[in-house]
Subunit: 279 residues, 6 copies
C-alpha cells in the first residue's frame, strides 16, 4: 500500500488494475467512527479522486458483524455531544456548526471523489453508516445487513447527509420518512425492494466478489466517460432539467475532445479490446 | 377534546400520550370537501404544529366508504368553478389565483405542521384526497383503498399540491404521469408497489392500529430529533445537496444543544427508558 | 398524412381522433440516428405541440429489431466525433457546445411538446434511445426490449438528456448509476421493477394496442386539463415545493377559466359523455 | 375609517380615490414597535392587498422625530430577548424560530400586499425601520432622515428582512455591508446616492405631497397592470432570467385578458382619460 | 450586406472588421415593432451569434426621432391584444402564452447571441425599447433619449423581459419600481446616474462613434475570452455564487485551451499587436 | 506574529485588539501572484476565520505601486497556461478544471472567512486583484488606484470569481460588462460612483487609517452579530427572498441565544461601554 493511503483505521488495497478497495478497519468496535476516522476518510477519498491509477472504488469494512455501528457514541458523548458547554447558546452553536461543516465535508469527500464508489454493506449499518453509503454512488448489501437510521434514538436529526441525500436517492419518501422517524431496523431485502440498494448477495464474500466485479467492469471503461457520468448525474439532482442540460453541454464541450472516443469506436468496429490512457 | 380543536367536520382525539388523531367527519358525503372544511383543517394543523402535547399525528376519516371523495363538486360548481363570472379574464383570474393560494395554504398546513403526519387511507381516495395525503409524511392504505387523481375528469389540472408533490414522492414518474393523465383507479397493492404508500393493512381497523402504533413509536422519540428530521427531509427535496447540507448545519447548530441527547445516551448506556421534556 | 408531418425517416399517422403516432422509420439500420433525423424529430414534435387535432402522442419505431440502436456511430465518427479538429481546444469546444445545444434542443422537443407523449419501446434500446424515451412522459416496453445506457462504451458521458433526466425519473439512483456506469443491458421486467417503464406487454403488437389505448383514453379528457397536468408535473421536478405551488396558481388562474369544467361537471351529473372543444 | 382598518397604533386614511395612507401611530415612543404592532401591521396590509378600493399605498409615520426607532427594546428585553430561558438550547431555539417566522411573516405582508407600497421616511429610521422600508416597493426620504441598521449594536444580525432584502435592493454591496456591520448613521442624501431611496424632499410635508402624488399617479393606471408589475419584478429577484420569463408568460396569459387594454388603447387613440373597473 | 442578413425593417452593416451594426429601419413609424420585425430580429441575432466574422455587435435605429416607440399598438390592437376572442378563458390564455413565449424568445436572441451587443439609444425609447436594450449587454444613450416603461399605460405588465431583467441590471430597485409603475419619462442623464446606461453622448452621431469605437476595442480582443466573459456574467445573475464558480470552472476547462492565451502572452512580452484566429 | 500566520509573501499583524491586517508582500513584482501565494492566502484566511482573537480583517498590500498586478503571467505561462499539453483535450480539461477549482477555493477563503474583510486598494489593481477584492466584504480605494479586469487581454474569461461576483456586487451591469469586455482602466472615483468601492482616500496612508478605523469599529461590536450579518447577506445573494428569510430564521434561532444581547441592552440603558466575550 502506498504511503499516501496509510491512515489509521483504514486499509486501502488494489486487487486489480484501476480498482481500489477502501476498508474501514475497527472491527473490534463494530467499525464505529471517532473524529480521527472521518478525517482520515476524507484524506483517502481526496487522494483517490485524482489518482490516475484508480478508476473505481469499492468501499467496505472489516469483520463480520458490522459495516459500521455509526458514530462512536461514547467518544462523542465526551466531546461535541457532551452538553457541558459553559458558553452561551450562540457560542456553543458556532462551535457545533463548525464541527458539523467539517464532519459533513469529510463524508462528502466520498461523493466528490471523481471516481465511482461502490459501497458494500453487511451486518450492522446504523446511523453514520447511512450517511456514508448515501454519499456513495452504488449500494449493494449482504443478506446479513441490518440498517437503521438510528439518530432519532440519541436525540438527533441526522445531519451528516442522510436526511439531505435520501430525497435524492430515488426511494419512496413515505418509506424514507417512516424509517428516519422510527429508527426501525430493516434488512437487505427491504432495501432492495425500495431501491436503497441495487443488488444483494448472500454472504459478505459473495458481496465482495460482486462489488469488485462491478468495479472491474467500470474500470475497463473510458475514465473520461466514467468521471463525467458520475458528475453529471450528481449535478442534475435537485436542479431543474434545463440547468442540468446546460451544465452538461459546458462539461462535454471539453470532455468529448478525448482520444477515448476514437479509440473506442475503432476498437468497436474491429471488435477488439480497447485500452484507455490514464486520467 | 380541547376547545381549540373543535371545528366542524373534524374530530380530534388523543388516544395515547403525545399522539393526536385527526378524523375528517363528513361520512354521509364520502368526506368530500367544502371550503369551510379546508379552512378548519388549516386551523387544526396549525394548532397541532406548536402543541407541546403532540408529537405525532394520525390523519384519518370517518365511515367505511371513503377517506375522501375529494372536492365537493356540487358545492364548487356553484362557487369558484361556476364559470358565471361577469368579470373580464384578468379579474376572474385574480379571484381564482387568490382562491388557489388560500386553498393551497390550507392543505400545505399538513406539510408545515412541525410534527409528523401519518395518513391512513381507505375506500375512495379521489382528487383532493391525493393532495391531502401527499402533504402528509407517511402514507398507509387499507386494502379497500381506491385511488384516483380525478381532476382531469372535471377539466382541471390538480392544483392544490398533487402535481407539485408527486415528483418529490419518490415514485416512478412514468407511472405518476400515467395515473395523473388518465385518472384511472388503482388500489393499495399498486400504491405499495410504486411506493406511494409504505404500508398496507387488510381492514380499516387494522390500518388504524398500525398507524397509531407507528405514531406511538415516533411519539416516544426525542421531539427535537423528530421535528428536525421532518424539516430537514422536506427542505432537501428539490434543492441541490449542498444547499441541504448547509441548511442542516445551521438548523442543528441550535438543535443539538438539547438535553435529549445526554438523556438518550445516558439511558441507552443504562438500558433504561428515557422520557423527553416537552417541545 | 398532412404535409406538415412529412419528414424523412419518420411516419406520422392518426389512427384515432386526437391521437398521433410518430414512428421512427429507419429499420434497416436499427433506427439509428443521423443528424437529419433529430432535426426532423424536432420539427414533428414542435408541430404536434400546437396542433389542435392532437391530444396525445404515441412514439414508436418501425421494424422488430430495435426501437433505436442510438446514435449512428459511423455517421458521427466522420462528423462531430471525428477527432480530426485542426482548431485549438477552445474553438473545438465552441463547435461541440453549439452542436450539443442543438442536439439537446431537438430531443427536448419531445418534453416541450404540450401534449403527453407515450413512448413504446421494443428490441434494442441503446444510448440515444434512452435520451429519447426519458424526454417522453410515459414509457411502456415490450418483453423483447434490451436497454443499455451505452455511451460509456464509446468514451462519452451521455449528454443529450439521459444523465440529466434519470435523477428526475423516480428510479432508484443506486440502480441508475450502476447501469449508466457499466452500460450493462437490462430488460423490460427489470425496467418495470425499478419504475423506468410503467407497463409492459408481450409483443410489439400488444404494446401498440396498450399504448394507443392509453393515448385514446387521454385524448378523451379535457385538453386544457391534460396540457396543464403535463406542464405542472414537469415544472415541479427539481424545484422546491413552494415554487411548484406558486407557479401552479399562476397557471391555473387562467386555465380554470375553461368551459371544459362546466361541461365535464354537467355531463358527470347527467352521466353523459362529454365532448371538449379544440385547444 | 372603515372598521376593518381600525387597529391600535395605526391610522389608515384614504385622501384620494384608490389611495390608502397607513400611518404608524406611536409618536410618543418614536414609533418603536411592540409585538401587537407588527401583528396589526400584518392585518392592515393583508386587508389592503385585496381591497378593490385600494390601488396604491403610502406608508408613513406620525410625529416629526421618527419614522420608527425600530424594535421597542425595553419591551423585547422582557420578552423574547430576555435571555431568561429555563429551557435547553434546542427548546429555546424552537421558540425563537417560531417567533422569528411570525415576525418575518408580519413584515413580509408589506411585500406580499398586491398593491404597490410607497414608504415615506423621516427622522429616526433605526433597525426595524429598515426591515419595514425594504419590504416596501418605493422608498422616499425627507432631509431629516437618519438611517441606521442598528441591530449589531444590540448583539443581533438583523433577521426580519434587512439582510435578506439588501442584496436585492440594487444598492452597492460594499456600502451595504459597511453600514450593516458598523451600524453607522447615514442621511437622505447618501441614501439617494447609493439608491436605497429613489427620491428626497426637504420637509416631511413636502415628502407626503410627493409620495401621495406618486400614489395617485399609480392609482390612475390599470390595476391589472400595476399588480402584475409589482409581482413580476419581485418574482424575478434572486432567480435566473429564464425562470422570470417563464413565470411572466404564465401570469400574463391570464392578465392580458383584461378589458383595461382595449379601454386604454381606445382612450389613447381618442386622447381621452380612461377609467378602469375595480380589481 | 450578405443575403443571410437581409431582412425587412433591418439594416446590417459591417463598418469595421469583426464589428456588425444592426439598425432597426422603420423610422417613419418611430421604429415601432410589428410581429414580422421581432421574428426578423431573432433571425439576425441568431446568425450573428455563430458568424466567425463577427466579434461585437452595435444595435441602433434609423432616424432621429426614436430608437423605438415600442410595440406598434395599432397593429397589436387588431391582433393579439384585440380582446375579441370567442374562445373560453383557458383557450385564449393558451394562445396568448404561446404568443408571449415566441415574442420573448425573439427578444432573448439578443441576450443569447454569443457576441456582446452594445445598444445605442436615442430619442423615444418606449415600452418594447426597454425590453430590447435590457437584453443587450451594454447600453449607451444620446442626450435626446426619452425613456419610458410605457406598458402600464396600455393596461399591461411588461412581459417581454423588462420586468425580469431590471432586477438583474444593477439599478436601484426603488427607482426601477417607480418608473415601471408610473411610466414616467426619464432622460439620458438620469439613466446614467442610476446605472441603466453606462455612457452618454451629445448627439446620435457622437453616440455612434462611441459605440462603434467600443465595439472595435472589444473586437480586437480574443474572441474566446470575449464570448466567455459575456456567458459567465449572464450565467451568474440570479444564482448563488457557488453555482457561478462551478459553472465557470466547467466552461473554462475547455476554453483556456486556446492558442489565444499563448499568442496574447507572447505578444504582450514582445509588446506587439496580436491577431486572434476566428471563432 | 504568531507562527500560524507565518507564510511566505504575506505579513499578518494585529495593530489593535481583534483587528488583523493581512498584507500581500511581494512588492518587487507588483504583488503579482504565483501558486504558492494563493495557497498561503487560503491558509491565512482559514485561520483567521476561527481565531477568537480576530473580529475584523483588513486586507492590503506592500509597496506604493500596486495592490496587485494580478496573476504572475510569466510563472503561469510556464505552468498551467503553457499550452504545451501532450494530453488530449479531455485530459487537459480535467487538469485545468482541478486547477481552477483549487484556485477558486483559495480566493473564496476570503469570502468564507467568518469575519468581515475590508480590502484596501491602491495603485495597480489588475486581473486577479479584482477577484480578490470582490471576495472581500468592503472595498475602499486610494486615489492612486488603477483598476482593470485585465483577463480578456491575455485571452481569458476571468474565472477565479470576478465574473461570478460582479453581478452580486450591486454595480450597474452595463458598466460591469463594459469594463470586463474592454479591460479598460478606471480609477477610484469611477469605482466609487458605480459602487464598486464604498469609500476613497487620498493616499495609501490615509486609506489605511480609514480601513483600520472601520475595522476597529466593527471589532467593537458583538462578534455573534457581526459574523451573522456577513453570513446572512452573503447567503441571500442570488437566492429568492423567501429562501433568505427561512435560512435567517434557522440561523438566528441559535444565535439570538447570546449573552451579547443582554449585555448590549443593559450597557445601552446604562450608557456604558460593553465588552463581548470571545467567539
Amino acid at each position: 500500500m502506498a504511503d499516501k493511503y496509510k491512515h489509521d483505521y483504514f486499509n486501502v488495497t488494489f486487487p486489480h488494475q484501476y480498482v481500489a478497495v477502501v476498508e474501514i478497519n475497527r472491527p473490534e468496535k463494530m467499525n464505529a467512527f471517532m473524529e480521527v476516522m472521518w478525517l482520515n476518510l476524507e484524506k483517502i477519498f481526496n487522494t483517490l479522486s485524482y489518482d490516475p491509477e484508480v478508476r473505481a472504488v469499492v468501499f467496505t469494512a472489516a469483520g463480520d458483524k458490522a459495516f459500521s455501528a455509526g458514530l462512536d457514541v461514547q467518544a462523542a458523548a465526551s466531546g461535541e455531544l457532551s452538553g457541558n458547554s459553559k458558553l452561551d447558546g450562540a457560542r456553543t452553536a458556532t462551535r457545533l456548526r463548525r464541527h458539523i461543516y467539517e464532519f459533513q465535508r469529510c463524508i462528502t469527500a466520498i461523493e466528490k471523489c471523481e471516481k465511482p464508489v461502490i459501497c458494500l454493506l453487511h451486518g450492522i449499518c446504523y446511523g453514520l453508516a447511512l450517511d456514508l453509503c448515501l454519499a456513495a454512488d452504488i449500494r449493494l448489501a449482504a443478506s446479513t445487513t441490518r440498517f437503521s437510521i438510528k439518530e432519532v434514538d440519541i436525540g438527533l436529526a441526522a445531519d451528516i447527509g442522510t436526511l439531505t441525500r435520501l430525497p435524492h436517492a430515488g426511494v419512496p419518501m413515505s418509506w424514507a420518512k417512516e424509517v428516519a422517524l422510527t429508527a426501525r431496523e430493516f434488512g437487505a431485502e427491504e432495501a432492495l425492494r425500495v431501491g436503497l440498494v441495487s443488488g444483494t448477495a448472500g454472504s459478505k464474500e459473495e458481496l465482495r466478489q460482486k462489488g469488485v466485479g462491478m468495479a472491474q467492469k467500470i474500470a475497463g471503461k473510458s475514465p473520461v466517460a466514467v468521471v463525467g457520468t458520475k458528475e453529471l448525474i450528481n449535478y442534475s439532482r435537485g436542479r431543474p432539467v434545463e440547468d442540468g442540460l446546460n451544465y452538461t453541454a459546458a462539461w462535454n464541450a471539453a470532455m468529448v475532445q478525448t482520444q477515448d472516443v476514437t479509440d473506442a469506436i475503432t476498437a468497436g468496429l474491429k471488435k477488439k479490446q480497447v485500452t484507455f490512457s490514464k486520467l
